[in-house]
Every structure is written in structure tokens, then in C-alpha cells.
């Protein structure tokens, strides 16, 4: 133990200060850490979209697609299939949310997420996206998207 810490401890309790310095450190074997890493990587790569909000997200994506073609003056005909909710994967929806969450009412989302137990430097887009998907009311989310697009 560092002298500074030992001296401080002795000033509070000579009993504890006289205990042996070394304590058995709890650890685990290499196999555990290898498996733990694989589990963490699998979890961070797992799609996080929730079925409850999928329709609203898909609707938003469809509206964006429509808006793009309208305002760009394109005369490209959009195949009906491109607007089919069933044709849009959950991964695509997550990509959409991640790409667009910063364009929406970020402060609103941040306020909604204020009860999220994270330090402010963890309020990244992925975290907010996860939080929005899990917690923001579907109607609010849909209105937010439709208002902007």
C-alpha cells in the first residue's frame, strides 16, 4: 500500500492499518474473458429495433423516400414495392434512425432521455436511438417524423 494511503488509514484506524497489505485479487481465467468478449461483440451488433415502433419508423422512411422524389423534381416512378412495409428490414430501419436522429428535435429526445442513467458524454446517437426505440411513445415518434417530412 502506498505510504500516503497507509498513513491516512492509520490516522483513522490503526487496526485496519496494521492488516497485511496484500489481498487475494479475484480474477477469472482466459477462457472466460474470451467468451465474454464474444458475447459483448454479439450484443453490440445485435439489431435493436423494436417491433412495437417498427411501423412508425417504416412510415417515416417511406415518407422520406416520397419527399425526396417530390422535392428533387425527379420523375422516377417509385415501384410500389419500395413503399412496402414488409420489404424494409429491421436493420434498414435502425440505419435510418441512426442516420436521422440528429436531424430531429435532439433536445426533445435528450429531455426524454434524461432519466437514462448515463453520463452526458454517453448521449451519443446510438444510445439515443436505443432509448427512443424502447421508450418514446409511438405516436410521438410518428408525429415527430411526419412533421419534419
Amino acid at each position: 500500500m502506498k505510504k500516503e494511503i497507509k498513513d491516512e488509514l492509520r490516522s483513522i484506524s490503526s487496526v485496519l492499518a496494521d492488516l497485511p497489505d496484500s489481498m487475494d485479487s479475484k480474477s477469472a481465467d482466459e477462457k472466460y474473458f474470451s467468451e465474454m468478449q464474444d458475447e459483448v461483440i454479439a450484443r453490440v451488433k445485435k439489431p435493436t429495433i423494436r417491433r412495437l415502433l417498427l411501423p412508425a419508423a417504416i412510415a417515416a422512411a417511406a415518407m422520406i423516400t416520397i419527399g425526396f422524389f417530390i422535392f428533387s423534381g425527379s420523375d422516377v416512378i417509385i415501384p410500389n414495392q419500395s413503399l412496402s412495409w414488409e420489404e424494409i428490414s429491421e436493420d434498414e430501419m435502425e440505419v435510418y434512425l441512426l442516420a436521422n436522429v440528429g436531424d430531429h428535435e435532439y433536445d426533445l429526445f435528450a429531455d426524454a432521455a434524461k432519466d437514462l442513467d448515463l453520463s452526458i458524454d454517453l448521449y451519443d446517437d446510438e444510445t439515443l436511438t436505443d432509448y427512443i426505440i424502447e421508450n418514446v411513445d409511438e405516436d410521438i415518434l410518428e408525429e415527430e417524423f411526419l412533421t419534419h417530412y
Binding site: 494511503i5 483513522i12 484506524s13 489481498m23 479475484k26 480474477s27 442513467d117
Partner: protein, 183 residues
Amino acid sequence: MSDKEILALFMNPATREKGFRGLMDTYQVRLYSVIRKMVKKHDDTNDILQNTFIKAWKGLSRFRSDSGLFTWLYRIAYNETVNFVNANKKHNAVIPAAVVELGAKQIVSHRADVTEMDGEQIQLKLKKAIDELPPKQRMVFVMRYYDELTYDEISNITGTSVGGLKASYHHAVKKIEEFVLND
């Protein structure tokens, strides 16, 4: 792998996983040890450690280099551990393994005071003492006594003032001493 190398790899989408595995390789043993000292079971430690790394993955792209990666990870682990302890204290009081060991050694060194006690009584006595320590006080004790962190480092991790930390540590030590000698 250095913090700089980890961050450089992580910021490149093509090498993000490699960088993050480098981060885990570098800090997993130390973090595991820190968390295990605060909670009793390996399974609980595993849950907290995994959650710590998952939150690190989500936040690392915005990591500010004004503190080291380990301090930043320690802060996440600390918050996760406090949340875990608070969530479980009503149903399953958590006894920090390190403090149990500490108490056991203390009792051995004062055998004259506890000669009438068997192992089960000792464990009950320790459990009672630990239950009386607030979670954050328990964390401060572990960080200072076992991890030998400075008060400034602990302050960075917990967001508590140095004065408050010193008071918490003082109270924790006094409670442990009082329990061992007088309870």
C-alpha cells in the same frame, strides 16, 4: 495496446471491432477485479462487466481524451455497480468479497475477541456490517483501500467532491473497525 492505438482503430469502421477487442484485452482483467471486489458473485460481475463494455462501445466515439480510458471505463463500471447494488439490495444484499476477506482477516487478528464465534456467526456479523454501509461509501472504500486511487481520480469517477469522498472513506473505515471490535 495503448489508448491512442485503441481509439485510432475504433474510429475506423473497418477496424472498429479490432480496436474494441484491444480495449477489452487491455482493461478487462483490471475491471473485472474492480467490480468483483464490489459484488460477491462471478455471475453478477460478468453482467456488470458486459454492460460496462456495451456502454463503452456506444460512447467511445465521443470519448474525450481529457481523462484516460481506464478512468472513463471505471466511471461506467462504477455507475453500473451502484445501479446493480441498489436494484438488488432489497432482495439480495450484496457483500463485497474484498470486505468479507478484510473482516475475516481482522477477526483472525483479534481472535481473543471472537473465540466464541463459529464461521457462520462471523459471516452473519460481517453481513450485518456491510449491509449498514451505503453502496457509494462501500465503493469509495474499495477504490481507496484496494485500488489505491487518489481522491482526484475517485472524484472524476464518482462526480463527488474530494471533501465528500474523504468523509465517506473515513466513515467506512470507522464503521468496519467498530463492527469488528465492538459489535
